[in-house]
Symmetry: C2
Subunit: 201 residues, 2 copies
DNA sequence: CTCATAAGCTACGGATCCGTATCTAACTGG
DNA sequence: CCAGTTAGATACGGATCCGTAGCTTATGAG
């Protein structure tokens, strides 16, 4: 484990560098202990700073967390590239699973699954982090091909646009690991494309 | 809120009655405070008993929780009744959403979503609660119709058998409420049946 | 009716987190 | 290079939960 810069000597972080370290520590702490155990004390310990530094900026761990997510959020958006619906759908799901491997994703999922317990937190996450962006992942691709005429727009019901994401989440939960590329292809071929009106073989 | 039996006087619970009260309190406590905050103190408070009573039977809140789930678990199993795949699938999903309204379901979901944090708990839940039962809900129905010849068994891939449950979970998460009957029908018509090889219209 | 069992109470020392206050010393802008 | 800012360290009283101990008393089996 390499230390940053010089191994010893008082090297004091300030401003953005400190902020980023705190944000990172918050997400890591959340991933490890969970939303219910997230504490200023824990975040400060992990960020190797003092509680006072945190309380100068935030009143609660939740406020801190929202900032951390806001900062970490720029997520890659699928850009339908090929003129191939199937390939683009698989690519969109791959983007999703890539994102799900990040610390920020764990944090977002934790907030979502415990939203009935911390409603203000979920609301803050929506209004400050998600709302700025449109629909996610597969729906971006689906709208593109619907506009291009490849797809009957009437097929794009609220249910159908969720099939890909829903199965990725379910598989991740069941298998306790991210889906493989083969499984993503299976999701597209066996579930998504049939629902879009392209029966297999 | 009516008190049980006589309003006053020392009426001391024993044996099964006490046990059931504790199990119930554990699930309620979990639903309210979350897995990370589940404590003997909290369960005892909610069950209106003393911590000592709990420690006489269990060493940790997690052990107590597994017992509570074990006791609460007998879940209704879909019995394909009509000779109508569509109707039976909708009925199976209805059973699922009914179950999801129970306290036990909240507990199970909490354990599953935090399984990386408490692996022993998830494992205990599998070996002591789930394993005794076969596949759940839609897969029961699907196997029935595959055996009856209505359905091509090759369609029943690991992905396809998860579509219904996956969408119910996703919708519940997104909408922050259980799916309506209409939404269940939409899941069957727009996602499940097409994937099983029955294109719409 | 008697008596063993177990529920229910109270209290404890230890640990952790809370939120705040106080002081120091390292940075940095001017 | 000096002064203002702010990171960092320490300590605090209060709160909560931990796990255990000692005791009282309701309950049910014989």
């Amino acid at each position: 484990m390499a230390e940053e810069t010089s191994p010893r000597g008082p090297e004091r972080r300030r401003g953005d560098a400190l902020l980023r370290a705190i944000h990172e520590a918050a997400l890591a702490e959340l991933a490890e202990v969970g939303l219910g155990q997230l504490s200023m004390e824990g975040i400060a310990r992990r960020a190797a700073t003092a509680k006072t530094v945190l309380y100068r900026r935030w009143s609660t761990p939740h406020e801190l967390l929202v900032d951390a997510l806001h900062q970490a959020h720029p997520v890659e958006v699928p850009t339908p590239s090929a003129d191939d619906l199937r390939t683009d759908l698989v690519a969109a799901l791959k983007l999703l699973t890539d994102w799900m491997g990040t610390p920020a994703a764990g944090a977002v999922l934790a907030v979502m699954t415990e939203r009935h317990r911390y409603p203000e937190l979920a609301e803050a996450l929506y209004s400050r982090v998600f709302d700025p962006r449109g629909g996610t992942f597969t729906s971006t691709v689906l709208r593109h091909y619907a506009n291009a005429g490849t797809l009957d727009p009437r097929r794009l019901t609220p249910i159908v646009t969720q099939i890909g994401e829903a199965l990725v989440f379910k598989l991740t939960l069941d298998l306790n690991r991210l889906p493989t590329d083969e499984e993503l292809v299976a999701i597209v071929d066996e579930a998504l494309l049939p629902a879009l009106g392209f029966p297999l073989g």
